[in-house]
C-alpha cells in the first residue's frame, strides 16, 4: 500500500516537473527542472525493476544531458528575449493542446488494451544465459543476444560526434573544442576536482567490472569517466584535446573496430557474424567491453564539449 502510494506520488511529481520544464519562462529554470526530472525518472526505473537502466538514466538523462543543455542555454541567453516575442497565438495553443491530449488519450487506451499474459523473452534469456558466461541478463542481451544493436550504437555515437565536429568554423578544424576553462587553482572547484576525480575513476572501474554479474557495465562506467574528465577540464586542471590529435582519433574508433573484428572472428570460427565460439563467449565479451570503454568515454566527453572553436596551435 505504501509502495503504491509512493509510486503514485512519484508519477505526480514527474508530471508536475514536466509541466514546469514546458511552462517556465526562463530556459535555465526549465533545464533545472529537467535535471530533477531526469533523476526522478531514475527512481522510476528502480520501481520498474531496471537497475541497469536507472544507472544509465541518472548518469546520462539527468547528468550529461543536463550539463549539455545548461552550457547551451548560457551561450544562447541573448536570443531568448527575441524568442519570447514570437510566441504563438491562442489558436495554435488550443490546437496543440487538443492534439497532445488526443495523443495521450490514444496511448492511455493502448495501455489498457495490452494483451494478457504479456509477451516476454525473459524465459528465453534465462534458458540461454549460461552459454554466455555472464551473470547479468542485461549484459548478456547487450553483448551476446543483441550484440548487433550495441555495435551499431557504438558506430552511431562516433557518427554523431563527426556531425558535431563538422559544425565548427573551418579555421578551427583540428583545434580544441569549446572554451578554455579557468578557475582559481586554490579554489573549491579545483580542490573538488582533485579529490573527486580519483574516487570517480575507481567507482567507474568497479561499475565496469561488476557489470558482468551485477547491474552496471560499460555505458554507465564510460559516462562516469566522461563526467570526471569534464570536471577536471572545468576546474582548469586540464584542457580539452585538439580534435586533430592522432591518439585521440585512434581512441575514438578502437572500440567499434575491436567489436567488428570480434564479429569477423565469429564468422570464421562458428559460421555467423558476431557469434562466439563455444567456451569463448566470456573472454570475447570482456575484450569488446574493454575496447569500448575508452571509445565511449571519449565520445561522450567530446559530444558535451561541442564543435571545435579554437584554432589549432600548430
Amino acid at each position: 500500500m505504501i509502495a503504491t502510494a509512493a509510486s503514485a506520488g512519484l508519477a505526480l511529481l514527474l508530471v508536475a516537473l514536466a509541466v514546469w520544464t514546458v511552462v517556465a519562462r526562463d530556459a535555465l529554470v526549465a533545464i533545472s527542472g529537467f535535471i530533477a526530472y531526469g533523476l526522478l525518472i531514475a527512481l522510476v526505473w528502480v520501481r520498474l525493476s531496471g537497475i541497469d537502466v536507472a544507472l544509465t538514466e541518472a548518469a546520462i538523462g539527468g547528468g550529461l544531458t543536463g550539463a549539455l543543455l545548461i552550457g547551451a542555454a548560457a551561450r544562447l541567453r541573448s536570443t531568448e528575449a527575441a524568442a519570447h516575442a514570437e510566441r504563438c497565438g491562442a489558436t495554435t495553443r488550443i490546437v496543440a493542446l487538443l492534439l497532445s491530449a488526443a495523443v495521450t488519450l490514444a496511448l492511455v487506451l493502448c495501455v489498457f488494451a495490452l494483451p494478457h499474459p504479456a509477451p516476454s523473452l525473459a524465459s528465453a534469456v534465462q534458458d540461454n544465459i549460461a552459454s554466455t558466461g555472464v551473470g547479468n541478463p542485461i549484459t548478456a542481451v547487450l553483448l551476446a543476444f543483441r550484440a548487433m544493436d550495441t555495435l551499431l550504437e557504438a558506430i552511431v555515437l562516433v557518427i554523431a560526434l563527426l556531425g558535431v565536429w563538422s559544425l565548427g568554423p573551418d579555421r578551427a578544424w583540428g583545434g580544441r573544442p569549446g572554451i578554455r576553462y579557468t578557475a582559481d587553482p586554490n579554489g573549491i572547484l579545483a580542490y573538488f576536482a582533485r579529490v573527486l576525480a580519483p574516487i570517480g575513476v575507481v567507482i567507474a572501474i568497479y561499475i565496469f567490472w561488476a557489470g558482468a554479474d551485477h547491474p552496471g557495465g560499460k555505458f554507465q562506467s564510460a559516462t562516469l569517466l566522461a563526467a570526471m574528465w569534464l570536471l577536471v577540464q572545468m576546474a582548469g586542471l586540464a584542457d580539452a584535446p585538439p580534435i586533430g590529435r592522432r591518439s585521440l582519433r585512434v581512441g575514438l574508433v578502437v572500440g567499434p573496430l575491436a567489436f567488428i573484428a570480434v564479429g569477423f572472428i565469429g564468422s570464421f570460427a562458428s559460421g555467423a557474424f558476431l557469434s562466439y565460439p563455444d567456451g569463448w563467449a566470456k573472454p570475447l565479451i570482456i575484450v569488446i567491453e574493454a575496447a569500448l570503454l575508452p571509445s565511449l568515454t571519449l565520445v561522450l566527453g567530446l559530444l558535451l564539449a561541442g564543435a571545435p572553436a579554437r584554432e589549432s596551435s600548430k
Binding site: 509510486s7 508519477a11 514527474l14 531496471g50 541497469d52 549539455l68 495501455v111 524465459s123 534469456v125
Partner: protein, 114 residues
C-alpha cells in the same frame, strides 16, 4: 493498479506534455528540451512493457531493458548534435528564430526540425 500500468499511464501524460511544448515553444533549445520529455515518456512506456514481461525467473524482461540503455545513450548523442546545430545556426544568423517570416539580418533562414 499495478506499477506497470501506473507508469504506463504516467508515460502517456508525459508524452502529451512534451508534445505540447515541442509545438508551442518558439526557442529551438526549448524544443529540444520538450523533445527530451517526449523521449523519456516513450522510454518509460517501453519500460512499463518490460515490467509486464516479468516471469518466475526475472523481475522484468531484460531484452527491452537492454534496448532502453542503448536508446538513452543514442538519445543523448542526438541531443548533443541538435544543440550543436542550434548553436551554429545562431552563430551564423544571429537569431534563434525558426520562423520563415522573419529572416534575420537579411540572410535566408532555413527552418528545420530541432
Amino acid at each position: 493498479m499495478n506499477v506497470a500500468t501506473l507508469y504506463g499511464l504516467c508515460a502517456a501524460v508525459l508524452i502529451g506534455i512534451g508534445l505540447y511544448g515541442l509545438i508551442v515553444l518558439p526557442h529551438p533549445l526549448r524544443k529540444i528540451l520538450s523533445f527530451n520529455v517526449v523521449g523519456s515518456g516513450v522510454f518509460m512506456l517501453f519500460g512499463a512493457l518490460a515490467k509486464r514481461g516479468a516471469d518466475a525467473s526475472m523481475s522484468a524482461d531484460p531484452v527491452p531493458q537492454a534496448l532502453l540503455i542503448t536508446g538513452i545513450v543514442v538519445a543523448f548523442s542526438a541531443t548533443a548534435l541538435a544543440v550543436a546545430l542550434v548553436v551554429r545556426v545562431i552563430e551564423v544568423s544571429g537569431s534563434a528564430t525558426l520562423s520563415s517570416e522573419a529572416p534575420a539580418k537579411g540572410k535566408p533562414e532555413t527552418s528545420g526540425p530541432s
